[in-house]
Structures are given as C-alpha cells and as structure tokens.
Symmetry: C2
Subunit: 106 residues, 2 copies
DNA sequence: ATTTTATAATACCTTATGGTTGCATGTCAA
DNA sequence: TTGACATGCAACCATAAGGTATTATAAAAT
C-alpha cells in the first residue's frame, strides 16, 4: 500500500475488499474523499491510499473541485478482467456439456 | 504467501500473475506439480505455495496418484468474479447509452 | 538394494501491504 | 480574519506475500 510499487494492475486493485466496495460506491455516483471514507471503519488516510491504488490501476480518476477532490469510476477498465475470464468460458461450457451428456445417459 | 492467512478468496487468488498463469495451464489439462513448475522461472517450492493459495480459494484441488500430486482446475469458482462484475454491467450499459446519445446528437 | 524422481516440510529473507498518528496547507463560511 | 472543513504529507508499525535454500520422505525404476 505504501505506493512504492510503480504500477498496480486491475487484478491487484480488486483483490482488496475495501477497494471493491469503493468501486461499488463510485458506481452509484462520483464522490469526494470524505464521503467515501465515511463508509469505512478505517482512517481517511487508509482510504486515500486505497484510492491511489485504484487510480494507478486506472479504475478511478479524480478532479479537484474547490477544496474537495471528487473521484469518478471508470467501469470500462473492468473489461480487462472480463476478457481474462472469457478465456475460461470455453472450459466452463465444456463442463456443462459433460454434465448434460451425463444426465442424458441416465 | 507464507500461508498464515487462514483463507484466501478468489479475488486475492487471481491477483498474482503466476497464479493466473497456473489456472490457464490447468484449464488445458490436469497436471502434476513438477509439470506445472516447469513453466515458471521460480523455484518449485514457490510454485507449490501458489498452488496452496489456489487450493484455499477452491480454484483447484489435488489428488495423489502414486508419487505424483495431480492438480485439477475448478472453473466454476471463477463465477464468483463474474457475479461481482455483473453488478457493474448496468453502469457499463449506461455509459454506452450516453455515448450513443452523444453520437446521435452530432 | 540403490538410485532416481516427486513431493513435503522447515527455516529464513526482503519487500509489499494495510493500517496508524500527527501535523501542515488550502478553501469556504461566519 | 478566524474557525471549521477537506485534503496532503511524512513517519512509523506489524504482518503478509513472494521468494530462497536445505533436508527429509515416499514411490518407481534399475
């Protein structure tokens, strides 16, 4: 979290439950930091660190508005995960087919 | 990795590139540890630790066959991720609609 | 019976992760 | 112009993560 790592990818970003929750909050609407951190039991500083990681993964971005910093979700970035999962769809379908075959033979 | 953590979930499991690669290898066919670790530059011990994490996430399981331990993928477990992503589909569709709206007005 | 192969178990190391507190700075409202 | 509010930043901390190397054990093959 001590953002020494130069780049966080989407898979690492969604590994943490807090970060997944943040993404869902932002899906509903753009939000400033304070508003986001109110949803968690951890400190604001900790939430900010999570936001930075999400930012590095380009899952969110922020724009300053007065004294607030408003975060926005970039849903499109989740496609990277969907794409990876798609690789397994083939095998998933195979499993279903095997099952169907088994049922038919009964 | 020092499997002190009692439970790894699917999201944590797929966060690591090596583990994602292992899953793809196993998608093709069941494999014993040695065969799997041949695909990586890291030590067999390290690969085994990754396999244990995948096992905890129930993404794979193993059965002993003679002196070999053969690992099998459980694709179904990836559904958990698909389900989570589905939550965002709505917002993704909204984005597309907005874009379409924008294009039409031009 | 001995060697080879496949895995298991342990100890150890370095860096990343997720969190904290305290203090500084910028901005809006009275 | 003085608080109050929103954020920024630095230092620090404990534990998890990812890796290594070494030694032990079980099963095949010679």
């Amino acid at each position: 979290m001590t953002q020494l790592a130069e780049k966080y990818d989407v898979f690492q970003a969604i590994a943490d439950p807090t970060r997944r929750h943040v993404l869902q909050l932002l899906a509903a609407s753009d939000k400033p930091i304070t508003h986001i951190s109110e949803h968690f039991a951890i400190s604001r500083t900790a939430v900010v660190k999570h936001l930075k990681i999400l930012e590095q993964a380009e899952l969110v971005s922020a724009k300053k508005k007065g004294r607030e910093k408003i975060y926005t979700l970039h849903v499109e970035r989740l496609k990277e995960i969907e794409d990876w999962l798609q690789y397994f769809d083939l095998f998933w379908d195979n499993k279903l087919a095997q099952l169907q075959n088994f049922v038919e033979k009964e």
